[in-house]
Symmetry: C2
Subunit: 393 residues, 2 copies
């Protein structure tokens, strides 16, 4: 199993520092040999692999759509790159894609779901659909899920709900990576906050999908490989103090929360990371905060993650919501920038640009080395390897 491929994406260059999932999430393609693959082929390969390890076809489709969408949005660490982890988890018995989910409690506007260790994509599709259904009936649906697995980018679920005309929100906890302010070790995940609000087609929706750490771990790995010092506010060493030493930071495994150190209000990011866990792991009765196991091939326990999904129907409030959202987005985009080379962006603008480009070309460009790792996986799983359109160098 080509475990090393999971870090390939940390080896690429940011196209821009502004992105709602952090500076390293939108990647350029200039550091190594690249190859183009059609969106359809990525989808086919993900689906085939998931089926080969025993997923039902519907679950395999859901995972394929989730990963292709992440790649289209430019969040390449959460796209095809993630497939191997899902395959490993299923093969190791940490995830059971054929289990049955169960609604443990239900009210007019809420449900508590036991995902029973199915794929994150399966439980999140079910829960977000249920949130929409309840919001259609009562104005809001809030669904909380335990015993789930990693659900990909949070923005996918918020966007899915928004595509049905609702304000979509999604929260998930994850393995400890963020050190509470003043502490010497990580005790919370980089727990994402994802919200998508429908707007006019002229601007597209308000789209926010952010981790509550300042930057992702992959960003530290990228700097280490280049021998570059980290930026202030990114990470802490084993003594809990901010460090610019990428090697030390990776050894300590402590990202600083959004805001960085105490002086620059990092305790707010700590509070936000904690808040997300309150609404996902703690609320659902899943593993939570410092109890969440590491997401590692050496970990045998199920992830038992918690998620929450909310659908809020803006039509229950003031008319003209979509127009006002678009007014904000338009206003931000036309603001005078500090540097004319870098126009002001609304949250989600980089994702929208990436998505439109992928739709226009029908293609995603991948690092050849990653595709070659997947050739090994294809051989192991007896599925067709990924067909490249053309090799670039």
């Amino acid at each position: 199993m080509p475990l090393q491929l999971i870090n390939y994406l940390a080896n690429t260059t940011p196209k821009s520092a502004v992105n709602s999932q952090g500076p390293c999430a939108v990647l350029s393609v200039n550091m190594t040999a690249m190859a183009r693959v059609s969106l359809k082929e990525v989808y086919r390969f993900v689906k085939d692999c998931m089926i080969a390890v025993g997923s039902p076809a519907k679950a395999a489709d859901q995972v394929a759509d989730l990963l292709v969408d992440a790649d289209k949005l430019g969040h390449r660490s959460h796209g095809l790159n993630r497939l191997e982890r899902y395959v490993v988890d299923i093969k190791a018995g940490r995830c059971a894609p054929n289990n049955e989910m169960k609604i443990e409690k239900e009210t007019a506007s809420t449900a508590w779901i036991n995902a029973n260790n199915v794929l994150g994509a399966t439980s999140a599709n079910y829960a977000s659909d249920l949130a929409i259904k309840k919001a259609e009936e009562t104005g809001i649906g809030w669904i909380c899920t335990r015993a789930s697995n990693h659900y990909g980018i949070g923005g996918y679920w918020a966007k899915k709900i928004a595509s049905r005309g609702m304000i979509g929100m999604s929260f998930s906890n994850g393995s400890p990576l963020v050190a509470p302010t003043r502490s010497t070790k990580a005790a919370l995940g980089s727990n994402p906050i994802a919200v998508c609000a429908p707007a006019l087609s002229s601007t597209g929706p308000f789209y926010l999908d952010i981790a509550t750490a300042t930057v992702a771990l992959g960003k530290l790995e990228m700097y280490r490989r280049r021998g570059k010092p980290l930026e202030p506010g990114w990470a802490a060493g084993p003594d809990g103090n901010e460090t610019l030493d990428a090697d030390l930071a990776i050894k300590s495994g402590s990202l600083l929360p959004l805001g960085g150190t105490e002086k620059s209000s990092g305790y707010k990011g700590f509070g936000l990371s904690a808040l997300v866990d309150m609404l996902s792991g703690v609320l659902s009765g899943a593993q939570y905060a410092h109890h969440v196991p590491r997401w590692s091939p050496h970990e045998t326990r199920p992830a038992d993650l918690g998620h929450s999904f909310a659908a809020l129907d803006h039509k229950c409030f003031a008319p003209g919501f979509e127009e006002r959202v678009s007014d904000c987005i338009s206003y931000w985009r036309q603001m005078t920038p500090s540097d004319p080379k870098y126009p002001v962006l609304a949250p989600g603008d980089l994702e929208k640009k990436s998505y439109a480009e992928a739709d226009a070309t029908g293609v995603i460009v991948y690092i050849v080395a990653m595709l070659e790792s997947y050739d090994v996986l294809a051989n192991e799983l007896k599925v067709e390897p990924i067909e490249r359109i053309k090799i670039m160098s």
Copy 2:
């Protein structure tokens, strides 16, 4: 009218840099003459002033409770310090405390309220009560209010909902103070996120009340008076670039969003500030984002602010919620600190300490100069001035 008093609190010293409303929110008392006032007397004075300017008794009680609570929590800028603004707004006709609120739309779990320019405390009490009532019936209540006024600390409303056994959330927009990443001027308020989750009495609740700017404007004023350079990540000059020059930053009126500059992920704080406006001003049809008028005695338009209040009943999800929240709080508190002199704090710990001290002594200590300004106000409004327990110097 002693308008200058509104900035007195920016002239004091932070007791600690960690506080969920920012480093300047918990204040010590060592820079000028101070006087002790009983909690009851503060309450009495606020209530008398509000009645003197025409508030109904119930609204006056609500404002008094809100301001005393903020002072007890240590958020002194939002305590007695705020009274004058409320008095000014009513006298100027910007706020109409005797108006009738109206429910414009209602579903099983939501309501859209026209606050009709009553006091923020009045509309927020009404809306948070309604959120609780709906959550008791359907598991969640989400109430959104337009045409409201400043509602004090967001945490008061989250805490109020949590005191009824629900997870309480509160969001409000405000006047532009935060510059979107890359831009050269403020276009969003420092819009607070406030969440309170019930827990065991052994730890008290999870309490988070944070502005989505890195620091409050008052903190910049404090540094300017001392001639100190600002810290990185706090504010921008008129060119949109980060500045450490307090004078320049105050002139530009541009706080940096949580996260600071683009390099340290300030666009996440921008996104969060925007998110809060989506859920308050934009959703309610109030003034929103760049349209919100300044909160100034020279402004004649009503504030027309938007708020949202959510009550989420954790009993609709996994049993043992309060135990798990307390487990997190206990865990964070016992973590090894980077510096033994500064123990790790759970979100809200400083507020709890301040609150307990106020309850134990029954007293709040104020800057004498502020109390003297209120003596002038008392004379104008023909109410009894604030009785001091003892003057300290």
